[in-house]
């Protein structure tokens, strides 16, 4: 090969940082705007009168006056453009509107529902990480059979649908063994099954990538030169392989968080936990558009933030990104 020298380190880092932050914010704003717009026009393209949803769905024998009243209350009688821009303005000012079905500000509902979902997701993410790394580490040390076992385990668990896993876990640990409460929202014990349900499939996914990059690091020439320095296998694992294994995990965490949020839809309904996913589901069935929009925007915002964080985390864990 022709000799390669490192690229000259960038001279003006702060400037770059500013660029980066601005870019993130701009991107985030765009995403939110796009989501809001898509839903706004999407909902108006489909047949059906939002006023119905407001008056408690088609089942209600809402009188004509009542419907008219509702339209007026929710500004549905104004021209489209007006509605659109006024909604954008309201969103911009942090007003997510009022839920059709609950008749209270969406923001209020979300404020109640974010913490439980977040707790669930974050815990699941942590558990998944630990599991994935543990399996990866264990499989590295064991031979071909161990690795085959690990990868089999990962692939299977990655393929398990949340709702099925949930049912099986409840059947096993609550009904049959009676070890864990199925639906407790008060006690921490109630968190075990939902978190497990969310974490296992994710651990499967993470495990697969982490193990690959860990294996790469483990067989790399820098691992060799570490051994040549007298580093022990544990040392190689600890000081080199683990960190390399973490990289893809970090890079994936944005995606992972997303998958957790969508998993929450199922898990929260099955384990009867309050949360964003469940509220989205009920909002969808009730055609509660402000609610749907609210949850969508929130999860989009969450995603944007998470992505920004994982970017930073990636830079911290992998200084190469910063320099290249």
């Amino acid at each position: 090969m022709t000799p390669k020298t490192a690229p000259p380190r960038s001279t003006d880092r702060p400037l770059k940082a500013v660029y980066w932050v601005l870019g993130k914010i701009g991107g985030g704003v765009f995403v939110l705007w796009a989501v809001a717009t898509a839903i706004f026009f999407g909902i108006r393209m489909i047949p059906g009168d939002p006023a119905q949803a407001i008056m408690g769905g088609p089942g209600s024998q809402a009188s004509a006056e009542a419907l008219a009243q509702a339209r007026a209350d929710y500004g549905l009688d104004q021209p489209l453009a007006v509605q659109y821009f006024s909604q954008l303005w309201r969103l911009a000012t942090g007003d997510l509107g009022t839920s059709y079905s609950l008749k209270i500000p969406v923001a209020e509902v979300l404020r109640e529902l974010v913490p439980p979902t977040l707790t669930l997701a974050v815990l699941a993410l942590l558990v998944a990480w630990v599991l994935a790394l543990a399996v990866a580490t264990a499989s590295i040390r064991s031979g071909a059979v161990g690795r085959a076992l690990a990868s089999g385990l990962e692939i299977i668990s990655a393929a398990v649908p949340h709702f099925w896993l949930a049912s099986v876990l409840i059947m096993l640990f609550s009904t049959t063994l009676g070890w864990l409460p199925p639906v407790s929202t008060q006690t921490p014990a109630g968190l075990v099954l939902p978190v497990a349900t969310l974490a296992l499939p994710l651990a499967g996914f993470l495990g697969q990538v982490m193990r690959d990059s860990m294996l790469d690091a483990h067989t790399s020439s820098f691992a060799l030169s570490a051994r040549a320095r007298g580093e022990s296998e544990n040392g190689v694992l600890l000081r080199h392989a683990l960190r390399h294994a973490a990289l893809p995990g970090i890079a994936l965490s944005g995606w992972a968080f997303g998958s957790l949020l969508s998993g929450a839809v199922v898990v929260e309904s099955i384990f009867a936990r309050p949360g964003l996913g469940r509220s989205l589901l009920s909002a969808v069935t009730a055609r509660d558009i402000p609610m749907v929009t609210g949850v969508a925007l929130l999860s989009a915002a969450t995603y944007v933030v998470i992505m920004a964080f994982s970017d930073v985390a990636e830079r911290l864990a992998d200084p190469r990104i910063g320099t290249a």
Partner: protein
């Protein structure tokens, strides 16, 4: 340090197996303290595996057997993992090739070096930190404090190699094993690193140097052992081995070295190829290719602009070779890409056969593309991975009309013969070919449209010496048979010197010296040219 009485290491009848593969056969070596043994061989000769076996790192799936295996007086055959770890880094320092991958890209240089101390000494962290700085100083790194805090990615190749060496000699072990320590480095840098290693040796450590390049080791080695197919075919004092080699393979290696071989002398044994019907000698003298004051600057956001090439001009005469020599970042490749019309010069122009070239739009260039061929350092990546050898050539011959080999079986056979590839390869996928074969294929493809000019960008730098010799010979013969003109780019001065009629010496994007080859090199004017010359490995045969 070990007292001179016993050897730094000694192995007798070392054998290494990977499952069924017997990769090292009955290798016996002995190395006295303070002396340097060079283990020379081409890729696949088993030299690296031998080196790794010596520190018990031949690999998990390997089996190592030896009658004797003594390192600094210890019989290491019976050592357990724990004992091995004590030995490694403390009694034996190991320097891997390609420091880029041999240092953890995620860890600071300082920490990597510190590991050695942490593992084998009881020094306090602060003491160790101090020692690390000393070491970086010792291996000749400027501003050790800065370097210790940097990542391997932020260092140049030379610096990385020095850092790696620092981590290997941290506890000045009695034995240092260096596996291709200079392969990935520019000539001048390589020379410095070799001097550094020589310095260590003078301090008393014994050194086992693994290399594919006889010339490179000739200046440091006391003894040379030549390996082929896992066997040591010849070994002895460096002078003797280099001066009058006994084994045929050693002779072949020596002959293959272009250094000091005048133009047109063969470097490899007789070719297995069908010569082309010799063309009428080129009479025309008008330059086939003219570059005038080319300049190219690369702009990157949030980073200073980088002037890759400025004011480069040259003429390429029919049937001649213009060599362009320079180290990485000297702008050779940028120049080549502008000549090939892959990159538009900011200013200046390229003319082909006196007609505008770089100024034309791509569509305007296309009709004359056939006149201009190119071969690259990594031929494989220039092939479409989905195409077999035959398809590739058919595609080139039909100027993209078809990829069906049958349509051009005749010409394909011809081309294969011309570059000395067996006809049977036509059905193979390039991935399954050896490096040499791949480069021959690349040449065959380049020749398909009957070009007048070939741009050769580092065509041999990825090849073993003997293969390099064959390819160089091939290019030379083709030039004479077909009256081709070459723009020949290489970082290897001796290759350039052997191949070129005229040379451009480039540094930092500018031509520092140019002219007819011999005058330039026998009497260099520019200091950089001088540096290159002194750095380029000459065979030191003593006479």
């Amino acid at each position: 340090m070990t007292e001179p009485a016993r050897p730094a290491f000694e192995v007798a009848n070392l054998n290494v197996f990977f499952g069924a593969h017997h990769v090292v056969r009955d290798v016996s070596l002995r190395l006295e303290p303070g002396s340097c043994l060079a283990l020379v061989g081409e890729s696949g000769s088993g030299k690296s595996v031998t080196a790794r076996a010596l520190i018990g790192l031949a690999g998990a799936r390997s089996t190592v057997r030896a009658d004797t295996m003594v390192i600094s007086g210890r019989d290491v055959r019976s050592l357990g993992q724990r004992a091995w770890r004590k030995l490694r880094g403390k009694d034996v320092g190991f320097i891997l090739q390609d420091a880029l991958t041999s240092l953890d890209p995620l860890r600071k240089i300082g920490r990597e070096i510190d590991d050695t101390l942490r593992l084998h000494t009881t020094l306090s962290p602060s003491q160790r930190a101090g020692r690390v700085l000393e070491l970086l100083e010792a291996v000749g790194l400027d501003d050790p404090v800065l370097r210790a805090g940097q990542l391997s990615g932020e260092l140049s190749g030379g610096m990385r190699q020095r850092a790696l060496i620092a981590s290997a000699i941290a506890l000045d072990p009695g034995l240092v094993i260096a596996d291709e320590p200079t392969t990935a480095l520019d000539a001048t840098i390589a020379a410095q690193v070799l001097d550094l290693l020589g310095e260590l040796r003078r301090q008393g450590s014994a050194m086992l140097m693994i290399s594919h390049d006889l010339a490179a080791v000739s200046r440091v080695a006391d003894t040379i052992a030549v390996m082929q197919h896992g066997r040591v075919v010849e070994s002895g004092p460096a002078q003797r081995v280099l001066a009058d080699p006994e084994h045929e393979y050693t002779r072949r290696l020596l002959r293959a070295i272009p250094a000091g071989k005048p133009r047109h002398t063969r470097l490899s044994p007789g070719p297995v190829r069908t010569p082309a019907p010799a063309k009428a000698a080129v009479s025309a003298t008008a330059p086939v290719l003219t570059a005038s004051s080319l300049a190219k600057t690369f702009k990157a956001r949030g980073r200073a602009d980088f002037a890759a090439v400025s004011n480069v001009g040259f003429q390429l005469l029919p049937g001649h070779t213009l060599g362009v020599v320079g180290e990485s970042g000297s702008g050779k490749t940028t120049t080549a890409r502008m000549v090939l019309g892959l990159l538009a010069p900011d200013s200046g122009s390229v003319e082909l056969f006196g007609k505008p070239w770089s100024k034309l739009p791509e569509s305007g260039r296309r009709p004359n593309r056939p006149l201009l061929g190119a071969i690259y350092q990594d031929p494989l990546s220039s092939f479409d991975p989905r195409m077999s050898v035959g398809k590739l050539l058919a595609d080139a011959l039909s100027s993209g009309a078809t990829r069906n080999p049958r349509a051009y079986s005749g010409r394909i056979a011809e081309l294969l013969g011309l570059v000395g590839l067996e006809q049977t390869l036509a059905t193979r996928n390039p991935e399954t070919l050896s490096g040499g074969q791949r480069q021959r294929l690349a040449i065959a493809r380049a020749l398909a449209p009957n070009p007048r000019v070939l741009i050769c960008d580092e065509p041999v730098s990825a090849l073993d010496v003997s293969i390099q010799a064959q390819v160089l010979d091939l290019l030379d013969e083709l030039q004479r048979e077909l009256g081709l003109s070459y723009l020949f780019i290489s970082h290897d001065l001796s290759v350039i010197r052997h191949m070129s009629d005229h040379v451009l010496v480039m540094q930092g994007g500018v031509v520092v010296e140019s002219g007819a080859t011999e005058p330039v090199f026998s009497n260099p004017q520019h200091p950089y040219t001088k540096a290159l010359l002194s750095a380029s490995p000459e065979l030191v045969t003593g006479e």
